[in-house]
């Protein structure tokens, strides 16, 4: 991937507060028009990384660019093209939702005022706040504030939307709405978001990075990550005597290992393969050549993101 295809590109980006290293040498590559999930346990450094990208805090080591511009030198230009939702969004309590969006819009646009009003109205509709548009924010619930946060983040048609825990304060309906908004926006923007809700990440993201203790421990397209780090694995539930067949299958050039577990009269194989196409075409057929065997279940093993996340983070913690 060339640097032109990257919206965010950091090299060794770090932030320390005295002896505390909030972020250590982050090398992050976020491709254009992706929905990029930024994961990590509490205190992993996600919010610190986001604040560095926005110029709200300054790096103590390394460098970074957004849209090819330096995050320290070109912050103002970068922020013209960014929309940002903070983890705990705060606004002026006396303003209404409509006033807040007008206020935010005027950092980007000088007019025409009716066009800005149209943009504010459609953004309020998009996040479902039209009926509360003229109420002061001080009466808003956490979910309503979050919706307003999402609205103000996209008021300027951003090329990059940075969302820090966008669905944390939302009920299931609100979460669904946020994911729909994100999928809609992806057509013309890149979305970089941190979250703890792994189901959401698995549903909408196309790339993922996992941060732990300020260190990037994984970064990959989500399908690659869900495919597992140990190669492709096929599982078979087999009834019958499998000893001689196991040796026969293990002799295939594209098979790297077979893990066998037995329970009652059933044997389960987990066959790790190096050539997925060959395995797809031949594995089941080769097993079925032995007419004494019955295959009751066959498929390619898939991982849940939560499983991957826990393995990576716990492995990193123990390593």
């Amino acid at each position: 991937m060339t640097t032109n295809e990257l919206v965010i590109n950091t090299q060794g980006l770090g932030k320390s507060y005295g002896d505390v290293h909030a972020l250590k040498s982050l090398d992050l590559k976020v491709p254009k028009n992706s929905i990029f999930g930024f994961l990590g346990p509490n205190g992993a450094g996600k919010t610190t990384a986001i604040k560095l990208l926005l110029g709200l805090t300054r790096p103590t080591s390394g460098s970074g660019s957004v849209f090819g511009q330096d995050i320290v030198e070109d912050g103002l230009d970068i922020r013209k093209r960014i929309g940002y939702l903070a983890q705990d969004p705060r606004f002026y309590e006396h303003m209404t939702a409509r006033e807040t969006l007008h206020f935010k819009a005027h950092f980007y646009y000088s007019g025409p005022l009716d066009e800005i009003e149209n943009r504010v109205t459609e953004t309020l509709e998009l996040v479902g706040l039209s009926d509360k548009a003229d109420r002061p924010i001080k009466g808003f619930s956490g979910g309503e504030r979050q919706r307003l946060g999402i609205a103000q983040a996209q008021i300027n048609y951003p090329d990059l939307l940075i969302l820090d825990e966008p669905a944390a304060a939302l009920d299931p309906m609100g979460r669904r709405d946020v994911l729909e908004v994100m999928e809609r926006i992806q057509k013309h923007a890149t979305i970089f978001y941190s979250t703890h809700i792994l189901d959401d990440v698995q549903r909408v993201s196309d790339s993922v990075a996992i941060l732990n203790h300020g260190v990037l421990v994984a970064q990959a397209p989500i399908q690659e990550l869900l495919g597992g780090s140990q190669g492709t694995i096929y599982f078979l539930d087999i009834e019958g005597e499998t000893d001689k067949d196991q040796a026969r299958i293990a002799d295939q050039a594209w098979v790297s290992s077979i893990d066998v577990t037995s329970a009652d009269a059933q044997t389960t194989w987990q066959v790790t393969v190096t050539d997925d196409d060959a395995a797809k075409a031949q594995l089941l057929r080769l097993v079925m050549e032995d007419e004494q065997l019955s295959v009751t279940k066959f498929g390619r093993k898939t991982y849940e993101l939560e499983e991957i996340f826990m393995n990576i983070v716990e492995g990193d913690n123990h390593g």
């Binding site: 604040k51 926005l54 709200l56 230009d77 705060r90 002026y92 149209n118």
Partner: protein
């Protein structure tokens, strides 16, 4: 449906980026809320109310205690200095800190807004708010009161010069308080230091340092009320009169510069 193509992009750049929008918002907090009239009413009661008692009530109730124009004008200008000075400190002590603590400063600065624009919008909007509600409004009402009581217009030149010096005096404390707000995250030190400076300055004028550091007296903000007093009494100003004016103006520039410097280093 709105479209980005139909909208005109803001063409502010550099160190003033975001200033116009922030200034509009800060101004709105003065003039689109009850702040302007509560401030105006408060100072009307305190400053012009006390002046009215001196000008209209005392001559009726105790004629022998009634002061002349110079006394009344002196009292008015003294009230216009000290009370509003404390009000400026108290009202603006949280202008920066509350935004840092609440998270609104971080929200604003995540947009294309320069940190200098953020500071200047607060300085200029508050300066206009205080100068209009205190100096201009109360100055105008007092001028009418005093002119009516004297049966003719007061000499306008020295009066305007006095109000100008009072404006400089209030701007000094406004800039000082905003600057302190960029250095601290609690209101206590801001309030303590700003009021400490005021008290130190007043004590210094009470000859605390005049004997062994006479130059200090010339460069403290309390020198301005001394000049005002001379103007009111029609005395010739001391030859060094530009020194305190230049010194206080330089302090204001220094405080604003320090505030911007510090706020540029603030991490959110």
């Amino acid at each position: 449906m709105a479209s980005a193509d139909n909208m005109q992009l803001i063409n502010e750049r550099g160190w003033l980026q975001g200033f116009a929008n922030l200034f509009r918002k800060e101004n709105g907090e003065w003039w689109h809320t009850r702040r302007w009239w509560t401030q105006s009413l408060l100072w009307l009661l305190i400053v012009n109310g006390i002046l009215a008692v001196g000008v209209w009530v005392v001559p009726l109730v105790e004629p022998e205690e009634a002061g002349g124009l110079v006394e009344n004008l002196g009292i008015f200008l003294q009230l216009m200095g000290w009370f509003p000075m404390f009000a400026v400190i108290i009202i603006t002590q949280g202008a920066i800190i509350s935004e840092k603590q609440s998270g609104t400063a971080a929200w604003i600065l995540s947009a294309p807004v320069s940190r200098s624009g953020f500071i200047l919008s607060k300085l200029i909007a508050n300066a206009i708010g205080f100068l209009v509600t205190i100096i201009i409004m109360q100055g105008l009402i007092a001028y009418v009161q005093l002119s009516l009581s004297e049966g003719g217009l007061l000499p306008i030149g020295p009066y305007l010069a006095s109000l100008g010096l009072l404006s400089l005096y209030l701007l000094f404390y406004l800039a000082l308080t905003l600057m302190l707000g960029t250095f601290f995250n609690d209101r206590g030190p801001v309030l303590g230091i700003a009021i400490g400076v005021a008290i130190f300055s007043m004590l210094s004028m009470g000859n605390l340092f005049a004997g062994f550091m006479p130059w200090l007296v010339l460069v403290l903000p309390e020198t301005l009320p001394g000049l005002i007093s001379a103007l009111v009494q029609g005395e010739t100003l001391p030859a060094i009169w530009p020194v305190p004016i230049i010194a206080i103006s330089l302090y204001i520039v220094l405080f604003v510069g320090l505030a911007i410097w510090r706020f540029n280093r603030e991490e959110f």
